[in-house]
Symmetry: C2
C-alpha cells in the first residue's frame, strides 16, 4: 500500500533530518562496526553522557537503532545497514572534491 506522495517525502525528510547531525553520524559509524554500549560511545565521541543519550533517543524514536540491556549496560545496534549505506554515500559525496 503506497502512501501519498506528500507523506512519502515527509517520511524521507524525517529520516534525513534524523541523520543530519554530525554526532549522530558518528554514532552510526561506530554502530556500523557492531553493537556498542553507551559509555563506549561516550568515550570514543568525547561527548557528555547526557548528550549522547539525547541523540540515542532521537535515533531510537526513528527506529534506526535498537537497544538491548546487558547486565547494567545497554547495547545499541543498527536496525538495518541500509542507513549506514546512506551515511556512507553522504560522506563520500562531500569528501570527494
Amino acid at each position: 500500500m503506497a502512501p501519498r506522495a506528500a507523506t512519502r517525502l515527509e517520511e524521507a525528510g524525517q529520516l534525513l533530518r534524523v541523520l543530519a547531525a554530525p554526532i549522530r553520524l558518528a554514532v552510526i559509524e561506530q554502530l556500523a562496526d557492531g553493537p556498542r554500549c553507551v559509555h563506549e560511545l561516550v568515550e570514543s565521541l568525547g561527548a557528555s553522557q547526557s548528550l549522547v543519550s539525547q541523540h540515542l533517543r532521537v535515533l531510537r524514536a526513528a527506529r534506526l537503532v535498537t537497544s538491548e540491556r546487558r547486565g547494567r549496560e545497554i547495547a545499541y545496534a543498527l536496525t538495518d545497514n541500509q542507513v549506514a549505506h546512506i551515511v556512507r554515500d553522504a560522506i563520500i559525496h562531500t569528501s570527494g572534491r
Copy 2:
C-alpha cells in the same frame, strides 16, 4: 587531502540537513528528470513562488543545484546525480516497510 574526521562528519551533516526538507526533496525529484525553471516548480509543487525561491537558495548555497538564465526565466539543474541517488535511497528506505 583528507579533512579531519570531525570536519568530514560536519560536512556530511550539512549535506543531509539541506536534504532534510520535503519540499527540497520534491525539487530534487523534479530536477532529476531534467532542468526546470522556477514557475514550473511552483506549479508542480503547489507552493508559493517566494517559498520555492527560498528553498532554491538553500540548494544553491549548498552547491547542489546550478542556475542559468534563459530569457526571463532561470533554469535550475542538479549539479550531480549522486545527490538524487541519496534521495532515492532515503525514500526507498522509508517506503519499504
